[in-house]
């Protein structure tokens, strides 16, 4: 693995560590989905560098964020989470349509 790819992998590490601390502080859903998103990003960079198609990774990341938000929304309905789901849902639709068109 070369230095540039290592730098790109490391961009997901701080958020992964933060979410690990959230998970350990009883914020289970937030921490778990945060770690999952960080792990997915790291796996995406590593797998793409060995030839995996990159198109699935960004939509996959959005799905993880959406799923995490939906789970937390079920636990406690807040406007912030609803807004977040709306924004990420819209981006996911736009990206999916864009990928099909491109």
């Amino acid at each position: 693995m070369n230095t540039a790819i290592l730098l790109l992998v490391m961009t997901s590490v701080p958020m992964g560590l933060y979410n690990l601390s959230e998970f350990l502080r009883k914020e289970r859903a937030r921490g778990f989905f945060g770690m999952l998103a960080a792990g997915w990003s790291i796996a995406g960079v590593v797998l793409m560098s060995v030839g995996a198609p990159g198109l699935v990774f960004f939509p996959g990341l959005l799905v993880i964020v959406l799923a995490g938000s939906a789970l937390r929304f079920r636990e406690g309905r807040t406007t912030g989470l609803a807004l977040r789901m709306l924004v990420f849902g819209s981006i996911l639709c736009t990206v999916s349509v864009g990928l099909v068109l491109l």
Binding site: I5, L7, L99
Partner: protein, 193 residues
């Protein structure tokens, strides 16, 4: 909702850290891609831009020029790269201006965004090279803008290891693909470090 300053500070620090890592990634020097044939020779090399890191090398085989810009990027579909070609800020126009001198005017005369070439979908440009010329003898001379040359450019992108290789083939009178074929490799060697 209660805002905890310590948490805001930690999250801000994390975002700063992530931004710094992305900055370092985009500024990290690319390994310049090279043509695979050994019959072309290098006529120019420079760092075109530091952020994102773009390294440019120009080769010729006597029939046409080949400029290879190696760009530090994150993966995207080929068609997106063709669309992003404009981000090179009039690269082809600047090159033509350098080649033909400062007094000329370069006009983009046609552009085909889905030009099929060597297994890639590239962008094909045709530029007209215009020059102010004085016609006639004093006192009856008139100044006219005359088209003195036509330049063809075909650009396409390869996406390798979080770097992109933008190839810009150029030749007089819209170089035919056969003129550029000696350079043609579907993927230029690129180590991406």
């Amino acid at each position: 909702m209660r805002v905890r300053p310590a948490k805001v500070a930690v999250v801000s620090l994390i975002y700063l850290c992530v931004a710094a890592l992305y900055l370092a990634f985009f500024m990290f020097p690319v390994s310049p891609a090279e043509p695979t044939d050994k019959f072309s020779y290098e006529v120019g090399e420079r760092t075109y831009r530091a952020l994102p890191n773009i390294h440019e090398m120009v080769y010729t085989n006597g029939k046409a020029f080949l400029a290879i810009a190696t760009v530090r990027t994150i993966s995207a579909p080929n068609s997106a790269y063709s669309a992003a070609f404009d981000r090179l800020d009039g690269y082809a126009e600047n090159y033509a201006r350098d080649q033909y001198g400062v007094e000329i005017e370069v006009r983009e005369e046609s552009r085909d965004d889905s030009f099929a070439f060597s297994g890639h979908t590239g962008v094909k440009f045709v530029f007209g090279i215009y020059k102010d010329m004085v016609v006639g003898f004093p006192p009856f001379e008139t100044a006219q803008i005359v088209k003195v040359a036509e330049l063809g450019a075909i650009a396409w992108f390869c996406n390798v290891d979080f770097g992109s290789v933008a190839k810009l083939g150029r030749g007089p009178h819209a170089a035919a693909p056969s003129q550029l074929a000696p350079f043609g490799s579907d993927r230029a060697p690129f180590s991406g470090s």
